[in-house]
């Protein structure tokens, strides 16, 4: 479902003496449907960078990143947008929302974008928020004022609202209590069971061992010159 071939990336900082920093060199990676792969490596090895390249918000200089039958590196913006709407989900570490929008609508939004009528999308959102223990009295409020753990669970609910065939998870269990962590792990297991290809970054080693089938050390893709 997700295939990376000879993927490389450099950052050029024009306003800082045009410094060129190579971060990823010839990364290769394949994730099959129903499989969960963990990206590992020391802080700064490029785990989040690689994940953002797969989501398309970081530009990839060379190689190919195929999600299903679309090559993200070559795709036009509107193809990437369609891909994200239908096939490629991403749970980032931080929730970014329009202020003032109620939590229920934040979670229902990915489904509304796919054309699902509001009542059905909200039913699905309610089910997820209940499952993730967000108290019902908070559903009508904007998540911008929520605690870190609550925001993260809202973000996860939003990321799991639509059954994406490919899913990227950036630290989905960080800052969660043990009970909620279990729930998130079971959501990931369910997504695998329905055939989603998942790439995750987990600093929580135990969580990683429970849901991930393989580990990929991103350090192996770090350009030699930088080490």
């Amino acid at each position: 479902m997700i295939t990376l071939k000879d993927v490389s990336k450099t950052f050029t900082l024009h306003n800082q003496g045009s410094a060129v920093i190579a971060v990823i060199d010839k990364a290769n990676l394949t994730v099959a449907p129903g499989e969960c792969v963990a990206l590992t490596g020391a802080s700064g090895a490029g785990k989040s960078t690689l994940m953002r390249m797969i989501y398309g918000n970081y530009l990839t200089q060379s190689g190919s990143i195929r999600i299903g039958d679309v090559d993200l590196v070559q795709a036009q913006p509107r193809d990437v947008i369609a891909l994200r709407r239908v096939k490629l989900g991403y749970v980032s570490q931080f929730l970014r929302v329009v202020p003032r929008v109620p939590t229920l609508d934040v979670v229902a939004e990915p489904l509304r974008a796919l054309g699902m009528p509001a009542p059905d999308a909200q039913d699905r959102a309610r089910a997820l928020l209940t499952q993730l223990n967000i108290p019902q009295r908070l559903w009508g409020l904007s998540p911008t004022t929520f605690s870190g753990g609550e925001q993260q669970r809202v973000n996860i609910a939003r990321g799991f609202a639509h059954p994406y065939p490919a899913l990227l998870l950036d630290e989905p269990t960080a800052s969660l209590d043990p009970h909620n962590r279990e729930i998130v792990l079971s959501l990931i297991a369910d997504a695998k069971a329905r055939g989603a290809a998942i790439i995750g970054i987990f600093h929580d080693a135990e969580a990683r061992e429970r849901v991930c089938d393989r580990e990929i050390d991103v350090g192996a893709f770090t350009p030699q010159a930088v080490v």
């Binding site: 900082l13 953002r52 918000n57 530009l59 913006p77 990437v80 947008i81």
Partner: protein, 267 residues
């Protein structure tokens, strides 16, 4: 798929000074494009050239016109992509009252300040042939509700409205005829942040539910991140970088885009 709007090589000079130079892009149905850049970078010149407010020196603005419905269809067999720069003034004017909408930065430029709120919305309906008073008033009431203006204010003039309400009224006036393409010039500029958030939420919902395409000129990167699918970064009249909104904002490639993104104050 045919682009709704295809802009090809738009250039506009003010004497020897460059307004905008050789700008080209395609906009597809349902897409929202943001144009960012500092003051004087040519954003508004470009927007005004596209919307027919300014005549470009060179270039084409191809719009995918639709077949008129019902009785109007007779005699109109030219539809599909047409160059709006060279079409006749009456045709372009008709377009700007039906398929196009233009939301000005200052609501007073887009509203008739001496006419009631309901009249402002109804006027645009009458311009496309609506004559039945009760149905015009019903539609105006419906639209005031959609932009969260109390129906009780329908007979008040916009001069009695706050800045945020005026802006929402301007949006209602523009969208009542069901346009397919909306041009917006700094739609949230000059509004305080709480009002901005409300307006952003409203615009996002309207764009999604009506399947609108929009071109938004702004210098506020937070606004484009929330509203636009794609952005173009302009500097000195030229497009220096374009692409997916989050890609350009998270990983800008051009020196100027990097400067622009890194200059935003963190709250």
């Amino acid at each position: 798929m045919t682009p709704l709007l295809s802009v090809q090589g738009i250039t506009k000079h003010y004497g020897t000074h460059i307004g905008c130079a050789d700008v080209s892009f395609d906009l597809y149905p349902g897409e929202v494009m943001g144009i960012v850049g500092e003051s004087g970078s040519g954003k508004s010149t470009l927007l005004n050239c596209m919307a027919g407010h300014l005549a470009p020196d060179a270039g084409r603005v191809m719009f995918d016109t639709r077949k008129p419905s019902g009785d109007d269809a007779a005699g109109h067999d030219t539809y599909g992509p047409r160059d709006t720069v060279t079409m006749s003034e009456p045709e372009r004017r008709m377009l700007s009252r039906t398929d196009w909408a233009f939301v000005h930065q200052h609501a007073r430029d887009g509203l008739r300040m001496g006419v009631s709120a309901g009249g402002n919305v109804g006027e645009r309906l009458m311009a496309v042939g609506a004559r039945h008073y009760a149905s015009i008033r019903d539609q105006a009431t419906d639209w005031l509700g959609r932009v969260e203006i109390d129906a009780g204010r329908i007979d008040d003039r916009p001069t009695t409205f706050s800045g945020g309400m005026q802006q929402r009224l301007q949006i209602a006036r523009n969208l009542v005829t069901g346009p397919r393409l909306v041009f917006m010039d700094e739609p949230t500029g000059g509004l305080d942040v709480s009002v901005q958030a409300r307006l952003l939420d409203l615009l996002r919902g309207l764009v999604r539910d009506m399947g609108l395409s929009a071109i938004i000129v702004t210098h506020d990167l937070a606004v484009v991140r929330l509203l636009a699918d794609r952005i173009m970064v302009m500097k000195s009249g030229r497009v220096v970088e374009s692409g997916l909104t989050d890609q350009v904002l998270d990983d800008p490639q051009h020196a100027y885009s990097q400067l622009l993104v890194s200059s935003v104050l963190q709250v």
